[in-house]
């Protein structure tokens, strides 16, 4: 359910870009990624129960997504920074889950192909923005820095989900190596500072979220909640 929530929430955020992207090709690309993630969310949530009940009738405190994916879009650079951090994580994680057997394996095996594309897209844009103009470099660096403190949570062990502590440490090391490499090629500095806030690490997974998340859910759930029991 934690992974389903990640995919659901990030998909929603990307859906907010529709009609606002900097270039038509990105309207297509961002919507495409959002759709892939929504597809993953539906599969994962269906494992746990009724997808619509889980998406539309849970309150903020019951959502298990990481705080990273609920962060508002900001400018295009911030959106790309979020995509980069998350898609590298997701690609590594799903790769492992696909090999690991268990209930997630078939879903992960399907999703990992999509996620490789998402990671490539984020990486290509990180290079372009980092090594583009002065302004794009500045914005990309800012986006990466602002979201840095939400990245530690990705590697907090989640109860009942996949890799054990040792595997998680390995995942984190690989993630760091990949991010470091992309940022170097993009002429961007690796953000400094803590990878999580003073707040409990792994907060999102425990249902402790950031303030913008409640508003996002209010918008997402409003219509469904206004018509209890209706089918659509």
């Amino acid at each position: 359910m934690a992974l389903g929530d990640d995919a659901l929430v990030l998909s929603h955020r990307l859906g907010e870009w529709a009609g606002h992207a900097p270039v038509l090709e990105e309207e297509v690309a961002l919507a495409n990624i959002a759709l892939d993630l929504l597809g993953q969310a539906r599969l994962l949530l269906s494992l746990a129960g009724d997808e619509d009940e889980l998406a539309f009738l849970r309150e903020e405190r019951a959502f298990r997504n990481t705080q990273l994916v609920e962060q508002p879009n900001g400018d295009f650079a911030r959106t790309i920074a979020r995509q980069l951090y998350f898609s590298v994580y997701q690609e590594l994680l799903y790769g492992r889950l696909a090999e690991g057997g268990g209930p997630f394996a078939p879903i992960a095996a399907k999703a990992v192909k999509e996620v490789a594309y998402h990671r490539d897209h984020a990486e290509q844009w990180t290079l372009r923005l980092g090594d583009g103009t002065e302004e794009s470099h500045r914005r990309m660096a800012a986006g990466l820095t602002e979201l840095w403190r939400f990245t530690g949570e990705l590697f907090q062990p989640v109860e009942g989900l996949g890799p054990d502590a040792a595997a998680t440490a390995e995942l984190e090391a690989e993630w760091s190596a990949r991010i470091t490499d992309v940022l170097r090629r993009a002429t961007l500095p690796l953000p400094e500072g803590p990878r999580h806030s003073a707040w409990t690490a792994g907060a999102g997974r425990q249902g402790l979220h950031t303030e913008p998340f409640g508003r996002m859910l209010a918008e997402m759930q409003h219509l469904h909640r206004s018509h209890p029991g209706a089918s659509w």
């Binding site: 992207a21 900097p22 270039v23 759709l35 372009r128 103009t133 794009s136 209706a230 659509w232």
Partner: protein
């Protein structure tokens, strides 16, 4: 579909060469008579005119205007529907709606590419949209006030678009006709989904049914206006028909649409907001009430409910995205020389939407929007 490919073809066509007929902008050159005869024979034989072929300046201008307006409509048309993506009431509906809005962006891309074969650039056309010198379909100046509007747009607006566009699959200009074949397939799919959405509401709770009826009441007349002014007042019709860009008159298509919709509304369990709607045995068609052409003219003039909002949002997206396009261009320029070539570079150029289209070729046909 690669924009670069079609652009290259257009450039070859624009430069008079031994193999190509005389360039489109020089009707006085010797051989122009012959070129015109070839063009007319092609149209008469129901064959396709291709980018390299000679064509009358007016034919080119008419196509650019129509294709640009069509592309703009796809792009602006994303807004009223995207308005509901974040509020879609089920995950299935949300996925369908996202896919639809994505398709619309894709249709815009095909159509701009097809228009580029006529010697204009996407950047130039977007600029004309943003500055109000080119139009988009009047229908997108109406607001989506409820979820049912998403269904009404699918059923009625896409339905009207398909009725208009299916004949364009046989349009005399090859690139446009081919784009339409692809677009019409996807549009038909959207239309069925819209119908199905309304059906679910109509058969749902009382509140859902009322929501569906209200949406149909608000979208019916604007959908009929999508076919354009009555034949008697349509300024471009005759020539477009003669050139086989257009195959049927506005009123013919509008009638066809009404005839299709009435039984569909019945099976939806919804009514259409026209007391004069009645089957006419003699004509074999439905009669329907008078359209409020005053409203139509007001919307075209910019006084519709959402004209300002739609164009400001489009302009804002473009302006706020400028630094992103500049970054992609700067990156592409910097890495052109070194080894990191091909894949990355091409992606960057495509993303900027300015794949060296401006320049001499655009100047040669720059007057294209009449």
């Amino acid at each position: 579909m690669t924009a670069a490919g079609t652009t290259a073809a257009a450039r070859t066509g624009a430069a008079p060469g031994p193999a190509a007929p005389a360039g489109g902008t020089a009707p006085e050159t010797p051989g122009a008579e012959a070129a015109r005869a070839v063009f007319e024979a092609t149209v008469a034989a129901d064959e396709r005119v291709e980018p390299r072929d000679w064509m009358p300046d007016d034919y080119r201008a008419t196509l650019v205007r129509q294709m640009a307006q069509h592309a703009h409509s796809e792009i602006i048309g994303m807004q009223p529907e995207a308005n509901w993506i974040t509020r879609a009431p089920s995950l299935r509906r949300k996925a369908i709606l996202m896919a639809k809005v994505q398709d619309e962006a894709g249709h815009g891309l095909y159509l701009y590419s097809a228009a580029e074969t006529l010697g204009v650039s996407r950047a130039e056309l977007l600029d004309k949209l943003h500055s109000g010198r080119q139009r988009y379909s009047s229908i997108f100046n109406y607001p989506t006030l409820t979820w049912a509007d998403v269904g009404a747009i699918g059923w009625l607006v896409d339905g009207a678009a398909i009725t208009n566009q299916v004949p364009l699959c046989r349009c005399s200009y090859g690139p446009y006709a081919r784009a339409m074949v692809r677009i019409c397939k996807e549009e038909s799919f959207h239309q069925r989904q819209g119908y199905e959405l309304l059906l679910a509401l109509s058969r749902g709770t009382e509140a859902q049914h009322a929501m569906a009826q209200d949406a149909v009441d608000r979208w019916w007349w604007p959908s009929l206006m999508m076919f354009g002014p009555p034949d008697a007042e349509s300024s471009h019709s005759d020539r477009s028909m003669a050139w086989k860009i257009k195959r049927h008159s506005n009123d013919e298509l509008r009638q066809r649409f009404v005839d299709i919709c009435v039984p569909q509304a019945e099976s939806l369990g919804l009514t259409l907001p026209d007391p004069e709607l009645a089957w006419n045995e003699q004509r074999g068609h439905y009669d329907f009430g008078a359209i409020d052409w005053q409203e139509f003219r007001e919307v075209l003039r910019g006084n519709g409910p959402c004209n300002d909002q739609r164009i400001s949002q489009r302009r804002r997206a473009h302006e706020e995205g400028a630094w992103v396009r500049e970054a992609a261009a700067a990156y592409a320029a910097r890495h052109r020389a070194d080894g990191r070539e091909s894949g990355e570079r091409r992606a960057g150029e495509q993303s900027t939407g300015r794949q060296s289209t401006g320049g001499p070729r655009a100047a040669a046909h720059g007057k294209a929007d009449a």
